[in-house]
């Protein structure tokens, strides 16, 4: 089998632009997702069970349905209410944000719950208010424990953003499919795309372990581990 390098070199500018959109969509989706996730994580910890319910079900619904289905619903059903015609890239970002919010909410909650109750008791016994305890004692420790799962979530999101291709969001995989259509060749474009995703995720996992080491003070100096694996639970697609 001959491998036609010129296909890759010809489409490389498009791939690079697609990669730019991939990173942009993932990053904005992740940041918005983190904000929504913070609210939902706090909502899920409310003591009133009725007020807590919508937050619990938000997480259940977004984790319990395929991201691909969410993207279709958002792009073809929800977004046309606001933008006509719907803009694929925006739809993709919205879907990634709403979806990752469900996972990030759980990461925040687990991180905060993982802090030993004695830490809070000691802080309260010193006269600190709820807000001071959170700000100075709980969150700084919880944040460190959140870095690895947040990093994993971002890496997952970068890969999942490839689903945007099916609604023609001009991200990396979309351009791979365009190249396949143009040349009727599958190996070259898809392999090139795969390598680009791989490089990005590899770099991200190094950034993740760097951050982990940077913020690991003496209470938890573990060996950081690289993680390209999908660590999510139920949402299959």
């Amino acid at each position: 089998m001959d491998f036609r390098w010129e296909i890759i070199s010809e489409y490389l500018p498009f791939f690079m632009r697609g990669l730019g959109y991939t990173i942009l969509a993932s990053l904005i989706g992740f940041l918005i997702g983190a904000l929504i996730g913070l609210v939902i994580g706090m909502g899920k910890s409310l003591s009133n069970p009725i007020l807590r319910l919508p937050f619990i079900w938000y997480v259940n619904i977004f984790r319990g349905t395929p991201l691909l289905v969410q993207i279709f619903l958002i792009h073809f059903a929800v977004m046309p209410i606001f933008i006509k015609p719907p803009e694929p890239l925006i739809s993709l970002i919205v879907a990634l944000a709403l979806n990752s919010a469900a996972y990030i909410a759980e990461i925040f909650r687990a991180g905060i719950n993982s802090i030993d109750k004695g830490q809070r008791e000691a802080a309260y016994s010193l006269g600190m208010s709820h807000a001071q305890v959170l700000r100075h004692v709980v969150l700084p420790q919880a944040f460190k424990r959140m870095i690895p799962p947040l990093g994993n979530e971002f890496i997952v999101l970068v890969k999942d953003s490839s689903l945007g291709a099916v609604i023609a969001a001009p991200e990396l995989f979309y351009w791979g499919r365009v190249a396949v259509g143009a040349y009727s060749r599958v190996w070259e474009p898809y392999l090139a795309v795969a390598v680009l995703y791989f490089v990005v995720c590899l770099v991200l996992s190094y950034v993740q372990s760097f951050l982990e080491r940077k913020y690991a003070t003496d209470d938890q100096r573990k060996k950081p581990k690289k993680n390209l694996r999908r660590t999510r639970g139920t949402a299959g697609h």
Binding site: S125, L126, G127, M128, V137, Q141, D218
Partner: protein, 240 residues
């Protein structure tokens, strides 16, 4: 200075404190003893409302902290507490552990807080550890830092819940020494402990708790050499 009236505490169905009444005067060192599960920790934790009070009253310098409207954070600044498990903040250095609360709660300037913290570290014999993280300390050192941290708020009373129970035997002495010094300086202290030697030497009064009640209270010498209640006798015969 502390007055406890008809204090009751339940966890669901479980009645842990049934009817506790006690008065603690300024500069008094009160030692609480009793079998495991008798409610000693629960009692001492009700004194700064780390544990919610089910019923009855706890007055700290006249303020009834069982009243939900009381600003409990304000009261807690005057009531230091030392825990069995130290509970130092692992993300902060020894010095930062001690300075944190004076700065954020009492709004001291950094310089003043640091000065006071270093003086306290000197007092507990750990001035050379100011810059290290708690992880690198031994148990006895951690507990001495925890005591310094509580003292930096300049509390009027100190609560100790089994401060030496998590320590290796060779480190118990250094912590008790610091506590003894504190007592000599006139600090009001309530100490839950199994260290009968400390109770005898430093305590002004011993409370024996069992089954959610204070079964007997007396001067250390009296209670150890001449216990009145059967349950006290049975307990002391096991531990002495």
């Amino acid at each position: 200075m502390i007055s406890v009236k008809n204090l009751k505490k339940t966890f669901g169905e479980l009645e842990v404190l049934r009817d506790i009444n006690v008065e603690i005067k300024e500069k008094e060192v009160v030692v609480v003893i009793g079998p495991s599960g008798s409610g000693k920790s629960t009692f001492i934790r009700c004194l700064n409302r780390i544990e919610d009070i089910t019923d009855g009253h706890v007055y700290i310098e006249g303020t009834d902290i069982s009243n939900k409207k009381v600003n409990i954070n304000k009261v807690r600044t005057d009531v230091g507490m030392v825990f069995q498990q130290f509970n130092l903040f692992p993300h902060k250095t020894v010095l930062e552990n001690i300075m944190l609360s004076p700065m954020v709660v009492r709004k001291w300037k950094k310089k003043d807080a640091e000065e006071k913290a270093l003086a306290l570290l000197r007092k507990v014999g750990l001035e050379d550890k100011a810059g290290v993280y708690p992880e690198s300390l031994s148990g006895g050192q951690k507990q001495r830092v925890a005591i310094a941290r509580a003292l930096c708020m300049e509390p009027k009373v100190m609560l100790f819940d089994e401060p030496t129970s998590a320590l290796d035997p060779e480190m118990v002495g250094e912590v008790l020494e610091v506590m003894k010094q504190l007592a000599q300086e006139g600090m009001t202290m309530i100490v839950v402990t199994h260290e009968m030697g400390f109770a005898r030497e430093v305590g002004d009064r011993v409370l024996f708790m069992d089954g959610g009640y204070i079964v007997e209270e007396a001067k250390p010498d009296d209670i150890f050499s001449n216990p009145k209640e059967e349950r006290t006798k049975a307990f002391l015969s096991k531990v002495l």
